[in-house]
């Protein structure tokens, strides 16, 4: 670990925090339907969209209608991706002549992008056409991200409103989110990425004759436009197989730094949107602080472990940390930081191969995902995931003092706690359950690339990543088999929607409640005690759930690694 390394980490955190307030202010205006500096241009487009699609922007929806609208929207999205993947051979923008994608792989990919997971069982440049990248994947990068954001906003409205039955209009929210927030940022961002060296072309792959006379086919494509939303929307599905480790997908240290910022910025700003909408920005800062504590702890462990290297490397006289699977332009620190960020948020882009991380260094990304990606988290999903933990923490605090718990003026009662528990328990059910199935099926075991405890970690990581809608991988695992295509798709589906529906139910039930003014007995939710309580509840619930599985994977592997036992 070096001083310049720490400086990069501190600089990163400082810039994220500095962006929280301005972006939170802007997003609050967008979702309150107020005018912004872009309104003169975008307002006519927005109204045109409503007119053509028959949306009455003044009519708000009950939580159930809101949720159904969201689900219907996803059915169509699924059909578009599945359709263009199956038919890509007959459609334009296919200069590399990619053949139709197999049904199970198309199904997996469609669910993957729909659920904001962007798990890749396909290699981008070797499997899909430019049309699939744009029409199938780029568009769903926008819409699944927008969906996450608007659901979080709907839940915030549940907390902020009193005695009403509605939580907003899904169609209005998704349109405004896409037009006013995601698109403008992406246009500027994509052009910046091109300036750094990211290709943006519809031309065919380039055939080069190298200096030594060998043939090299260089895959290019409309990369920058997809990468911008891939990072900003915490989607993470790479244009190329190697994702953000690929020099075209992350050309410079600066592009890397900005990509890391763009993963966190919307998720972090949403805590400020929460604070503004419930009428006290300190409520938002308290949530961000709880996230920050967990984040810094994760960065510390991963950076230390990667900089340290392994006993096997030391035995060969090699120093300088674990560079296997990492790029020289990023080095140890930017690779470690990226790994923690991408799994804290549910991004899943990688700029280094997590499979080759040291055992402890790779355990932190795993833990981040198993905690439910609530450390900033996926755009929107992180905030509603965190608010579920807050509901539990408040409930625990209420039990301790024997009062009905309250949070931002709302009484937290049996219905909310049940829904929060349902959402939180369904995640380990999927990733632990399917891992257990996979390790006793010989055909599933055959997909492991590494022997010993590392092979187990690969499988656990895959199901954790899918359930958490992250999409990063211990990529050695051969996921493109019938078994993994279907089981991972089911994990992604359950992990997304079984969290969303309970969260929306909570939103609906909270919105109907009266607002209780704070009294002398109200537990203050803006101070250090509250932050500590939330962090404690997260770690205790998480620890009890998945610690045994970690003991079988990364923990035992670290011990083996220290003793220089190889498999």
């Amino acid at each position: 670990m070096t001083a310049i390394g720490w400086f990069q980490i501190i600089l990163y955190c400082a810039i994220v925090v500095a962006l929280v307030k301005p972006l939170g202010w802007y997003m609050t205006r967008v979702f309150n339907g107020e005018a912004t500096f872009l309104s003169p241009v975008l307002r006519p487009v927005e109204r045109g969209f409503y007119w053509i699609s028959g949306v009455d922007e003044r009519r708000e929806q009950h939580w159930l209608t809101y949720t159904v609208a969201m689900l219907l929207f996803h059915v169509g999205g699924f059909l578009i991706i599945y359709g263009v993947m199956r038919l890509q051979a007959m459609l334009p923008f296919n200069p590399a002549d990619q053949a139709a994608v197999a049904p199970d792989l198309s199904f997996n990919t469609a669910v993957s992008f729909l659920t904001n997971t962007n798990w890749q069982n396909y290699g981008g440049e070797s499997t899909v056409s430019y049309l699939v990248q744009m029409l199938g994947l780029t568009h769903q990068n926008f819409l699944s991200a927008a969906t996450g954001i608007v659901l979080a906003v709907a839940l915030i409205r549940g907390f902020a409103r009193a005695s009403v039955r509605t939580i907003g209009n899904f169609w209005v929210d998704i349109t405004r989110c896409t037009l006013y927030i995601l698109l403008p940022i992406c246009i500027v961002y994509a052009l910046f990425l091109v300036s750094q060296g990211m290709p943006q072309t519809l031309g065919p792959y380039v055939d080069a004759t190298t200096v030594e006379g060998a043939k090299q086919t260089i895959a290019v494509g409309p990369v920058a436009s997809q990468v911008a939303i891939k990072m900003l929307g915490t989607n993470g599905g790479g244009f190329f197989n190697a994702n953000a480790a690929h020099p075209f997908e992350n050309p410079t240290a600066l592009s890397n730094f900005v990509q890391m910022l763009s993963i966190f910025v919307i998720g972090a700003a949403l805590t400020n949107v929460f604070g503004r909408m419930v009428g006290n920005q300190r409520q938002g800062w308290a949530i961000l602080a709880a996230m920050g504590v967990l984040f810094i702890a994760g960065v510390l462990v991963t950076y230390w472990s990667e900089a340290n290297g392994t006993t096997a490397l030391h035995a060969l006289g090699l120093t300088g940390g674990n560079m296997e699977g990492k790029e020289v332009r990023f080095g140890i620190v930017a690779s470690s930081l990226f790994a923690v960020i991408t799994t804290a948020a549910s991004c899943g882009a990688v700029n280094a191969m997590h499979d080759s991380f040291t055992a402890l260094g790779g355990m932190i990304p795993l833990i981040n995902m198993q905690l439910g990606e609530i450390i900033v988290g996926g755009v929107g999903a992180g905030l509603y995931g965190m608010l579920l933990f807050v509901v539990l923490a408040i409930f625990v605090a209420g039990l301790m003092v024997g009062r009905t718990p309250e949070y931002v003026g709302k009484k937290i009662e049996a219905r909310e706690v049940k829904m929060a528990m349902l959402a939180i328990l369904v995640l380990p059910l999927m990733y632990l359950g399917w891992t257990a199935v996979a390790v006793v099926l010989p055909s599933a075991v055959a997909s492991m690339a590494n022997a010993g405890p590392h092979g187990f970690t690969e499988v656990l990581y895959a199901f954790t990543s899918a359930t958490g809608n992250n999409g990063s991988a211990f990529a050695g695992l051969t996921g493109n088999t019938f078994f993994y295509n279907l089981t991972l798709a089911s994990s992604m589906f359950v992990g997304r929607f079984f969290m969303i529906v309970p969260a929306m139910a909570i939103a609906g039930s909270l919105a109907q409640k009266k607002s209780v003014p704070p009294s002398a007995g109200t537990f203050p939710t803006t101070g250090g005690l509250f932050v500590g309580l939330v962090v404690g509840v997260i770690l205790i619930i998480g620890g009890l759930t998945f610690f045994p599985a970690l003991a079988l994977g990364p923990i035992v592997e670290q011990l083996a690694s220290n003793a220089n036992t190889l498999f």
């Binding site: 969209f49 699609s53 028959g54 609208a69 929207f73 290699g123 744009m134 029409l135 199938g136 568009h139 169609w171 349109t175 896409t178 698109l183 246009i187 091109v194 060296g197 290709p199 943006q200 072309t201 380039v206 080069a208 190298t210 200096v211 090299q216 895959a219 290019v220 409309p222 436009s225 939303i229 480790a245 020099p247 075209f248 050309p251 410079t252 240290a253 600066l254 730094f257 392994t310 060969l316 006289g317 090699l318 296997e324 699977g325 790029e327 020289v328 332009r329 690779s335 990688v350 700029n351 499979d355 080759s356 590494n450 970690t457 990529a475 050695g476 592997e557 690694s561 036992t565 190889l566």
Partner: protein, 200 residues
């Protein structure tokens, strides 16, 4: 609920057209005008032929060139399309080794490379990046230490004084962005092209 069906179809199609077609095509058009070189992939041409991309590593095996990092990229086996074979720096199929820290296969491979490099230059410690594969398998860079490590071999193969080769390495070393971000590095292709230029 029924009145939600029309927006579910129409609004989806509108937003798909905007984000899936209009946006990427507009970015392609604008980028092609203001950043034409980068948008095409930062290609390097020599005598009218493309010899590679400034951002994509390529394989160097001859002694007279600086070598990049080992690459774990694969290609389909020409004899059996269901299998893959090693194909270093395959820029149409990026990827890493994905071998973990306790992998015997990885450790054996590193050990073999370390021994080869020690035989080549016993006077300096072996730099870690010269014996580990990158995440993409296309890493265009090596660390300045890894470049300096190879100076004696390259100088000998080219009959150039070591000092001159070392100066070329130093001239091609790029520092951190703004002195802070990333790591110092040497682009192998740029260095080798400079070397070819100097030897003429």
């Amino acid at each position: 609920m029924l009145r939600e069906i029309r927006p579910a179809i129409v609004l989806l199609l509108l937003l798909t057209a905007v984000t899936g077609l209009a946006y990427p095509l507009a970015i392609t058009a604008i980028a092609g005008v203001i950043f034409p070189t980068q948008a095409q992939g930062s290609l390097i041409e020599k005598d009218g032929k493309v010899i590679g991309s400034a951002l994509i590593g390529q394989e160097f095996k001859e002694d007279k060139y600086f070598h990049g990092r080992p690459s774990a990229t694969l290609a389909p086996d020409p004899n059996d399309s269901s299998k893959t074979v090693s194909a270093p720096y395959n820029a149409a199929n990026s990827g890493g080794s994905n071998l973990g820290p306790t992998s015997k296969a990885l450790n054996d491979r590193i050990k073999e490379d370390v021994e080869k490099l020690k035989a080549e230059n016993p006077s300096q410690p072996v730099p870690i990046d010269l014996v580990t594969t990158s995440g993409s398998g296309l890493d265009p860079d090596i660390s300045p230490e890894a470049a300096l490590f190879q100076v004696p071999r390259v100088a000998k193969a080219r009959n150039l004084p070591e000092l001159q080769v070392r100066q070329l390495v130093e001239a091609n070393t790029k520092g951190r962005f703004a002195g802070v971000l990333g790591e110092p590095r040497v682009n192998v292709l740029a260095l080798n092209l400079a070397l070819d230029g100097a030897s003429k």
